[in-house]
């Protein structure tokens, strides 16, 4: 493998029902940072059926180029034709970096593609940098420059590892949604589109789709919220979440929750923050009656401001909170809502 042949940062632009997923814009944004560090460009790979029109959106968020693989076989996501599409793009264009969102689709597709083209894949990354490998010079070992350093949590969020792929290309990573920042949209930018179709011939690896069942669409996605008011087991009952809804409403935020709350059946899983739920990074995160199990912290500690209210002063949530308030949430939260309502009315 001649590593020098591989150039450019490529990202998989995931779309479902011809709507581009937010992760695609996040990857374009991060890909742009990496491309700038390497003095190269970021290319989005858009795969689907009738998706060409979507390419401009990717350009608006910073994609220098968009490769469109458009074929009727690609209408609904299936592992094999999508893996064939990406593997063919990689074999033809030889990117040095290839990023895929760590979504349910991306974490199925990434491993199949990396195994097909024989390269390494680092899962569920939360940080990507360009740097040296090994990080510091090691006697007797060549230190390679301009490597992709992929950082990810492991052991349920207890450890963190930085991984490189020095001898194979492309350097592949799946990237956790909600972690990378997308760039500001430049409305009206037109995409530099290149169409490519490697040909799709169904074989035994093409599974048959018997049915597509859509779950009820979420009204809100907590990953998009600027302010989250999150409740834990300490709320005591599902009825008490009314207090949080009132507080969220005053601040224009959303309610989310910890795993204990979902396990108790008080709130649906799509509101769960944490290792097995969603990773959020709002401007303000209120952790109310949440003790702060490590799995929960993994999903919210990147929030800009964390405010915790808990009656147990030794709760681990206080170890990550910017502002910790020890006290009875039943007394504090309603009073806080009223006070904020008054303050905001005064400002308007």
């Amino acid at each position: 493998m001649n590593l020098e042949e591989y150039k450019g940062v490529y990202v998989f632009a995931q779309q479902v029902d011809n709507v581009i997923n937010n992760i695609a814009f996040e990857l374009v944004g991060k890909g742009k940072d990496l491309a700038e560090a390497l003095g190269t460009e970021v290319t989005a790979v858009l795969v689907g059926s009738g998706v060409k029109d979507l390419a401009d959106q990717l350009a608006e968020y910073g994609a220098d180029k968009v490769i469109v693989v458009d074929d009727p076989e690609l209408k609904e996501y299936r592992t094999e034709p999508y893996a064939h599409a990406l593997a063919s793009v990689i074999n033809k264009y030889k990117p040095e970096i290839f990023l895929v969102g760590a979504t349910a689709i991306g974490r199925d597709l990434g491993p199949r593609v990396s195994a097909r083209i024989h390269t390494g894949l680092t899962a569920d990354c939360t940080q990507l940098d360009i740097g040296d490998f090994p990080l510091a010079p090691v006697p007797g070992k060549e230190q390679k420059h301009n490597q992709l350093l992929m950082t990810r949590p492991a052991f349920g969020g207890n450890t963190i590892a930085t991984i490189a792929c020095p001898d194979f290309r492309p350097q592949m990573a799946t990237v956790r949604p909600g972690v990378m920042q997308k760039r500001a949209r430049q409305a009206g930018v037109k995409a530099n589109v290149e169409e490519f179709n490697p040909g799709f011939t169904p074989d035994h690896k093409y599974v048959e789709i018997l049915e597509v069942v859509k779950a009820v669409a979420n009204t809100v996605d907590i990953m998009d919220a600027k302010i989250l008011v999150s409740g834990g087991r300490g709320m005591g009952s599902p009825e008490n979440f009314k207090m949080l809804e009132d507080l969220a409403e005053v601040l224009g935020g959303q309610v989310s929750c910890s795993r204990a709350v979902v396990d108790a059946g008080w709130k649906p899983k799509d509101l769960q923050v944490g290792q097995t739920g969603k990773t959020v990074r709002p401007n303000v995160y209120f952790a109310i009656g949440i003790s702060g199990a490590i799995q929960h912290l993994a999903g919210m500690e990147e929030s800009d401001i964390i405010i915790a209210i808990n009656k147990d002063e030794s709760a681990p949530i206080f170890d990550v909170a910017d502002y910790g308030v020890v006290g009875d949430l039943n007394k504090i939260v309603p009073a806080l809502t009223e006070k904020l309502r008054a303050e905001i009315a005064k400002n308007n």
């Binding site: 349920g156 590892a161 991984i163 779950a215």
Partner: protein, 260 residues
Amino acid sequence: MKVVVCIKQVPDTKGGVKFNPDGTLDRAAMMTIMNPDDKAGLEAALRLKDQYGAEVTVLTMGLPKAEDVLREAMAMGADKGVLVTDRVLGGADTWATSQTLAGALRNMDYDLIITGRQAIDGDTAQVGPQISEHLNIPVISYAQSLKIDGDSVIVERQYDDRYHVLKAKMPCLITALAELNEPRYMTPGGIFDACKAEITVWGRADLKDVEDSNLGLKGSPTQIAKASDKVRKGAGEKVNLDPAESVDYIVGKLKEKHVI
């Protein structure tokens, strides 16, 4: 019908995480368990045994002590256990692990291979799909239900906002979610039988059609640059005031940070 379930022995990270005095993870002190997604995959296979008389073999790669997890699976009802262990296989990333398991699977009869979606120590979800690629068979990951239809499997495959009902011809590989089912317990008699049972132990020489350059640490494309315990953002302020003062404190901070 023959089903092979790939299982992994993992440290129990839920609740039982222990640290050394210097703050690093104390792996030796942590209990080991059968990886939860793998256990769901095993339960799915055992249900195929109950329903169709499938023969269930469990396969693991690891240190010799990983034999314990095979015995646990057999105490739940698996028929056979195969342990792949060899020094040259150590330090493998997901590429090399999937190559190893594929090399073992080429020596086994199977209609269906089931793996867990991901292991709780690595959380990669990569080994299952990679095995299927090496064996050139279809994969359906994230299975939330599984049934047999003639020479095919029908699987509900979960995505974020939907699921697909997919049909794949066997042989194929399924990755299971812990939500797939509620795994059964071992039985006391199953434990006694499993402790007497013979476990098949394979080394490097027993792997079929795999090159040395794809195995172990040397065969791993990804390399660890740095590993450390997660450094958390330090604690900020903590106050213990009466409720009215607490409210004033929070409002003051929100103003200071221009949130309101």
